[in-house]
């Protein structure tokens, strides 16, 4: 998991996305423990409040849950939830930009579809 400290994207958001990516990649399977905010804070040298804010984004989306006195665990069905969420943003972040760039270059939709099929 990499955090780009120069990015204009807030660190806690990068952290939440990084953890989601790790869950998608199977690094933290469902019902297993994710690193504690102390571990995250120490290894990335960030304020624990920032680490907590990132993890809380995942708690709010019910991707992880807290076991009192034990730590944070990946929820059952977390992978599916992340995929659903990412599919929605896929249109916003990738498809719309693709169409915008294509319009600039004068590429018609039929040609884009042909390109996708070829690659």
């Amino acid at each position: 998991m990499l955090i780009d400290f120069n990015s204009d994207k807030a660190i806690y958001i990068q952290l939440a996305e990084g953890l989601e990516d790790a869950i998608l990649a199977g690094a933290f399977p469902e019902e297993t423990k994710i690193p504690s905010t102390t571990e995250i804070s120490v290894s990335y040298k960030i304020n624990p409040a920032t680490a907590l804010k990132g993890v809380n984004l995942l708690v709010n989306d019910q991707i992880v849950y807290k076991k009192r006195g034990v730590g944070m665990f990946v929820s059952e069905g977390a992978v599916e939830k992340i995929m659903e969420k990412r599919k929605i943003s896929f249109v916003e972040t990738y498809i719309k930009n693709l169409l915008k760039e294509a319009a600039k270059l004068g590429i018609p939709k039929s040609e884009i579809i042909a390109m996708i099929e070829r690659s």
Binding site: N6, T38, Y44, K45, N47, P48
Partner: protein
């Protein structure tokens, strides 16, 4: 009631005003960065907070109690000083021993553990420590003090990259496990910008800025690209400063970013705390 309440603090040394009407309210269990150029008054402020200096006017209260000549309150604050204040002839081990007499919660086992991590030879005399190890030694006493409030005045003076890295990690581990109020005074802003939660900038004895790092950084951004593109883009905007490198330019802007109006070919990155600091403290007028 604020945890640490700094009220209308003024300190004059003869004709020089080191601090002028400083008002700060610090919350419990947060990490604050105290930033300021040389001679801004950082050390004076920390020294008044620990009763090493008596203010000309104003007071510092910890949970409503004034720190002045108040041992009960002062034992809750540990201040790591930039200067060497320990008896030179004592060994590191002896200082650990005596620290426990002054700070009842001083953790000798933790001090020994940290000494091993940092490679500090505890049989050495204070006078035999190099600049770097002198800082390491003071950092260890500060962390092991277990005081509720830890003030660190230029803690990383003379530390090499490995020791700095280790210091930040141990500080965060310590804070994360036992939350406490920490104030770090430093010049190396970039290194602490992700560690501190709130930033206090003082300039010429006055508070220039006091805000959360997150708020501060969200107020601006950096835009980079070809000189002409950047110049066109920044016209009419609140520009903090510009850096040029050949045909390339980076501009630091204090404004909300509107991505829709961002032309092609320009790149956006976050506002750099160091740049903001340099700009704010360079201006002749105190805002």
């Amino acid at each position: 009631m604020a945890f640490i309440d700094i009220r209308n603090l003024t300190k004059k040394f003869g004709a020089t005003t080191a601090l002028c009407k400083i008002n700060l309210r610090l919350e419990k269990n947060k990490i604050y960065g105290l930033l300021g150029r040389n001679g801004a008054g950082k050390t004076t402020l920390l020294n008044i907070m620990t009763n090493k200096l008596i203010p000309t006017e104003g007071e510092v209260l910890i949970e409503g109690q004034c720190v002045k000549e108040n041992d009960a309150v002062l034992s809750r604050i540990y201040c790591m000083n930039e200067k060497k204040l320990y008896p030179e002839s004592l060994t590191v081990n002896e200082v650990f021993y005596w620290s426990q007499k002054f700070y009842s919660s001083f953790d000798q086992a933790y001090a020994a553990e940290l000494s091993q991590l940092f490679g500090l030879k505890t049989r050495k005399k204070i006078s035999e420590l190099s600049t770097g190890y002198s800082s390491v030694f003071k950092i260890i006493v500060a962390l092991a003090s277990n005081a509720e409030i830890i003030l660190l005045d230029e803690p990383i003076l003379g530390l090499d990259a490995n020791h700095r890295d280790l210091f930040y990690k141990e500080l965060l581990k310590n804070y994360s496990i036992n939350p406490r109020t920490i104030v770090i005074s430093t010049h190396l802003i970039e290194e602490v910008s992700d560690i501190i939660e709130e930033v206090i900038i003082i300039s010429k004895g006055k508070t220039l800025l006091f805000d959360t790092v997150e708020n501060l950084l969200s107020q601006g951004y950096t835009v980079s690209g070809s000189s002409t593109a950047v110049e066109n883009y920044i016209a009419g905007k609140n520009v903090l400063g510009v850096d040029s490198l050949g045909g390339l330019k980076s501009a630091y802007i204090l404004d909300q970013l509107n991505r829709a109006e961002l032309p092609e070919g320009l790149e956006i990155s976050k506002l750099d705390l160091q740049k903001l600091f340099v700009h704010l403290t360079n201006s002749k007028e105190v805002v």
